[in-house]
């Protein structure tokens, strides 16, 4: 908590006080694999999600930064689980994440970044008889880490591997609390492979 308030104090100071462009920005494109875990519908009734993600970060000279990204992920219902998932089309997750990052320079071309933040997830399915959309959305927490390898001497380009853990809680209602728990929450493990461009 102390660290967080320190970050909150430092971030605006870094942006406002320093006119020199010591704040660096980057954009990223990622391939994503997402596996829901636990005893819940997303984990038990669905296959692994695959998709892509686009994002960006701002990094200050004190190695704290902010970032955001947007992901689209696609999956299918497991064979034999259609009765408990419901008669709806293949699920899609749209996700917006915002987070604080901290960077550690290991060597000239190798860095580690940790991140913590918030995620907003929408789980969407089309009903099979038409084009009406079923939408469940909710907020969650996000924790992650990135291992970044810089490709060129000017440090413009980099590739990275990223692992994330996040929670998802939505607003599905059932009068039986066990059933509601099964359908209204999940936990996601994500593996991202990405390319980063610094400028």
């Amino acid at each position: 908590m102390k660290n967080l308030s320190l970050v909150l104090l430092l971030l605006p100071m870094c942006y406002l006080a320093q006119k020199k462009p010591d704040v660096v920005a980057n954009i990223e494109a990622k391939m994503a694999i997402l596996k829901p875990i636990g005893n819940n519908s997303l984990a038990q009734d669905l296959k692994t999600f695959y998709g892509f993600s686009l994002g960006g970060n701002l990094m200050t000279p004190v190695n704290f930064g902010v970032g955001a990204d947007f992901s689209m992920l696609y999956s299918n219902v497991q064979y034999g689980k259609r009765n408990t998932y419901g008669n709806v089309g293949s699920p899609r997750l749209s996700m917006v994440n915002v987070f604080l990052t901290h960077r550690e320079n290991i060597s000239e071309e190798f860095l580690i970044e940790e991140l913590a933040g918030l995620s907003y997830t929408e789980q969407k399915n089309f009903f099979v008889d038409g084009n009406q959309l079923l939408k469940n959305s909710g907020f969650g927490l996000l924790l992650g880490g990135k291992a970044i390898y810089i490709l060129d001497p000017e440090a413009y380009q980099a590739v990275f591997v990223e692992a994330r853990f996040q929670t998802f809680r939505t607003n599905i209602y059932n009068e039986n609390s066990e059933i509601q728990k099964y359908y209204d929450r999940s936990y996601f493990l994500t593996l991202n492979l990405g390319y980063r461009f610094n400028f």
């Binding site: 419901g86 008669n87 709806v88 607003n171 209602y173 059932n174 009068e175 039986n176």
Partner: protein, 115 residues
């Protein structure tokens, strides 16, 4: 950001925006083949869940519903049923069980078919 976070976390705690029905039970019949017997759950003229019966005639069904009446539809006529909730009824053509909107969880002890 911390305040924003707390607001966001608290706002979806007790919403009933997306009700989902869950039912399980057992079909009892003298003559039907359970493997080819399909039960369907209707809500607002839409099939929200369907399944073939497991061995012994048991089934589990769940699907997204709106705040309106749900029906469990059977290909053969239903003679009687018993469930853990009251308020359910057999439709006039005997081909389905009508479940009121406020019920989202039902356990059928048995559903006895005429055939």
């Amino acid at each position: 950001m911390l305040v924003l976070f707390l607001v966001l976390m608290s706002c979806d705690a007790d919403s009933r925006n997306n009700p989902r029905i869950y039912m399980e039970g057992k079909i009892v019949s003298q003559s039907i083949d359970y493997k080819f017997y399909m039960l369907k759950v209707y809500n607002e003229n839409r099939v929200v869940a369907e399944t073939l019966l497991e061995n012994g005639g048991t089934f589990k069904l769940s699907g997204p519903v709106s705040n309106s009446v749900t029906t469990l539809s059977s290909p053969e006529k239903i003679k009687t049923f018993s469930a853990d909730k009251s308020g359910l009824s057999i439709s006039s053509d005997s081909l389905s069980i009508i479940i009121p909107a406020e019920i989202t969880f039902v356990k059928f002890n048995e559903i006895v078919l005429k055939k």
